[in-house]
């Protein structure tokens, strides 16, 4: 496993590299924030436009899924290394969540 601590012989170089990397990542976060705002706007406008629900429902769910992926992978850093266990826990939860909702909508309150 790569050490988390400074490894460069010249600490100044390493420090400046890390600063630059952090600033770069922050710019990515702002970009994903802009995307989330855009996705949200599309979702609200679609409802205002009054399309048929067989068309709106799947698109709304897809937009929500896209926004959640951005939130998880950028804001919550799941795109970083060392998030295997995090992904396992979250996707296991999501699988049970999907089955729960499917069950309630099809069998329990049929």
């Amino acid at each position: 496993m790569a050490t988390q601590q400074s490894t460069s012989a010249n600490p100044k170089v390493n420090y400046e590299y890390r600063r630059k990397k952090a600033a770069e990542e922050m710019r990515k976060h702002v970009t994903s924030f802009a995307l989330m705002i855009f996705v949200t706007l599309i979702a609200f406008i679609m409802v205002l436009a009054g399309f048929d629900k067989t068309f709106v429902y799947p698109v709304l769910l897809a937009l929500a899924a896209l926004q959640v992926v951005l939130q998880l992978y950028y804001f919550m850093h799941m795109s970083h290394k060392g998030h295997g266990a995090a992904a396992l826990f979250l996707y296991s939860g999501a699988l049970v969540a999907f089955i729960t909702i499917l069950t309630f909508l099809t069998i329990v309150w049929w």
Binding site: Q4, Q5, S6, P11, Y15, R18, R19, A22, E25, M26, H29, V30, F33, M36, I37, T40, A43, F44, M46, V47, L48, K53, V56, Y57, L60, L61, L63, A64, Q67, V68, Q71, L72, F75, M76, G82, A85, A86, F89, L90, S92, G93, A94, V96, A97, F98, T100, I101, T103, F104, L105, V108, W109
Partner: protein, 209 residues
């Protein structure tokens, strides 16, 4: 590495939230908790979807009669922006800038409080204008349980941030409290994740019919 060790911005490790064993354990345990939270909210969403618009008589208001897009839009923007401001706080945490981290966390708390204010107004409005209460119908129970549970998470998130800020105001950043701030911000993002599904499934789909 000693958790109370003093650092400078140059000696501060790259991933302070995962440098100590305690930090690593917190990180792992917290994601396990988030998996459980996903299941918890799934059961509430499933109940809501099954009981949506299930009212005992025709004089009860339905989702399409009550929900208003402008209010939901403002709440969504507030919570989404507060998610970004807590990312800024963690950016400054990683750069060992305690003052800026505190400033961004306080902005996050402010946005969260504004969200909560709108939610309280919303519930008050439904109760008084539509007599849509927790006990008025199965729809009402399911609605207030789902959205109220999310609101309770917002309250807990705000309290968490405030406690951390108060406890560590004069302490500065170290490897003991960095994982605490990091985990609190993860929780705050998760609250926004849940809200994305609430505004989509409850409000937008509710408005479509």
């Amino acid at each position: 590495m000693d958790a109370e060790q003093k650092f400078t911005s140059r000696t501060w490790p790259e991933s302070p939230e995962k440098t100590t064993l305690e930090g690593k354990n917190k990180f792992l345990g917290f994601w396990l908790f988030l998996g459980g939270e996903t299941v918890l909210f799934a059961s509430l969403f499933a109940t809501y979807l099954a009981l949506k618009d299930k009212v005992p008589s025709d004089d009860h208001a339905l989702a399409i009669d009550m929900f208003e897009l402008p209010l939901v839009f403002i709440m969504t923007m507030l919570l989404l922006t507060s998610s970004l401001t807590s990312v800024y706080a963690m950016y400054h945490m990683k750069n060992y800038n305690f003052q800026k981290m505190k400033t961004w966390l306080i902005i996050t708390v402010g946005l969260g409080l504004a969200f909560l204010g709108f939610e309280i107004y919303e519930f008050y409005h439904y109760v008084h204008a539509f007599e849509h209460t927790f006990t008025s119908s199965a729809f009402g129970s399911a609605f207030y349980t789902l959205v109220g549970f999310h609101g309770a998470h917002v309250v807990v998130g705000l309290g968490w941030f405030l406690l951390l800020l108060i406890r560590n105001t004069n302490r500065g950043l170290n490897l003991y409290n960095a994982p605490k701030f990091f985990v609190a911000s993860l929780y705050w993002h998760f609250i926004d994740v849940v809200w994305v599904f609430i505004f989509t499934v409850v409000y937008l789909m509710g408005m479509v019919g």
